[in-house]
C-alpha cells in the first residue's frame, strides 16, 4: 500500500509543499509506504544549487535529502514539467526518477494526496 504525496507548488513562495513533505515524512516515520511526486511548478524543488539563506528559509532540496533516510520510497518528477522549467538531468538533485504522471502511473498508488 503506497501513498503518493503530490507537491505541485514551487518552493519558497508558498508553504504548502513543505506541508506535503511533512506528510510524507510522517507516513514514513510510522512505517507506511509512501512516495513523493513533484509536478507542475513543484519540480523546482528538485533544482540543484538552491541558496535560500537570503530569504531566511531552509533549503527545500536539503530537507528532501532526508527523504531516503526517513524511508520515503521514491522521488518522482513530471518529465514534461522539468522540461518546461529548464531542468536538464544534470540540474536535478540526485535520486529522482523522471516519469509521466498519467493514468497508468497514478493507478499504481493506493492513495494520491495533496497537502492543500
Amino acid at each position: 500500500m503506497t501513498v503518493l504525496i503530490v507537491i505541485d507548488q514551487a518552493p519558497y513562495g508558498s508553504w504548502s509543499g513543505r506541508e506535503g513533505l511533512d506528510m510524507a515524512f510522517s507516513l514514513a516515520a510510522f512505517d507506511q509506504s509512501c512516495a513523493l511526486l513533484f509536478s507542475g511548478a513543484g519540480v523546482n524543488w528538485l533544482r540543484a544549487g538552491q541558496q535560500p539563506d537570503g530569504l531566511g528559509q531552509k533549503s527545500v532540496a536539503q530537507n528532501l535529502g532526508a527523504a531516503a533516510i526517513f524511508g520515503v520510497e521514491a522521488l518522482y518528477a513530471d518529465v514534461q514539467a522539468c522540461q518546461r522549467y529548464g531542468l536538464a538531468n544534470d540540474a536535478i538533485i540526485a535520486g529522482v526518477t523522471l516519469i509521466a504522471p498519467d493514468q497508468t502511473f497514478m493507478t499504481g498508488f493506493e492513495k494520491v494526496t495533496f497537502a492543500g
Binding site: V3, E19, S26, L27, F30, Q32, A115, G116
Partner: protein, 137 residues
C-alpha cells in the same frame, strides 16, 4: 442501482474559513454522511484548515460562523476533531498545554477541537476512508 455499504470516513480540511469554501463543503458532506448512517471517526485540520478551530474568529453577524457551526456539529455527533500541531503553532492556534509549554499569553483553540500530531492522520489512513477538502482557486 448499487448497494452502498456503511463506511467510516476521516475528513481532512486544508482550506481556511473565509478564504476558501472548504469548511462549508466539508460540513455539508459530513452532515449528509451522518444522516445516511455512515460513521465519521475524526476530522483532521491541516495547513490553513486549522483556522476552523479558532475561538477568536468573529465574522459579521449576517455571515455563517463556520468555527461555531463545526463545533456544534462535532459536539452533537461526538466526533473527535484534531488540528495538526505543526500547522496550528505556526498559525497561532494554541491550546492550554502549548500555552504553558511556550509561555504564551493566551490560548485560543475552540472546544471540542484538540491539537495533535500528524500521527493521528497516519493512523486514520490505515482504518478509514480519507476525504480531503482543499482550498479552491
Amino acid at each position: 442501482m448499487a448497494d452502498i455499504s456503511l463506511q467510516t470516513y476521516t475528513l481532512v480540511i486544508t482550506g481556511a474559513p473565509y478564504s476558501s469554501q472548504a469548511p462549508q463543503t466539508a460540513l455539508d458532506f459530513a452532515r449528509a454522511a451522518v444522516t445516511a448512517g455512515h460513521q465519521i471517526d475524526r476530522v483532521f485540520l491541516y495547513g490553513d484548515g486549522v483556522h476552523i478551530a479558532s475561538a477568536l474568529i468573529c465574522p459579521p453577524s449576517d455571515e455563517p460562523h463556520w468555527p461555531r457551526l463545526w463545533s456544534e456539529f462535532l459536539a452533537e455527533h461526538q466526533i473527535p476533531a484534531v488540528a495538526c500541531v505543526a500547522s496550528a503553532l505556526r498559525r497561532g492556534l494554541i491550546d492550554s498545554g502549548e500555552q504553558k509549554r511556550y509561555e504564551l499569553s493566551a490560548h485560543n483553540v475552540r472546544a471540542p477541537f484538540e491539537i495533535a500530531g500528524l500521527g493521528e492522520w497516519v493512523e486514520a489512513g490505515t482504518c478509514s476512508k480519507v476525504i480531503y477538502f482543499h482550498s479552491g482557486a
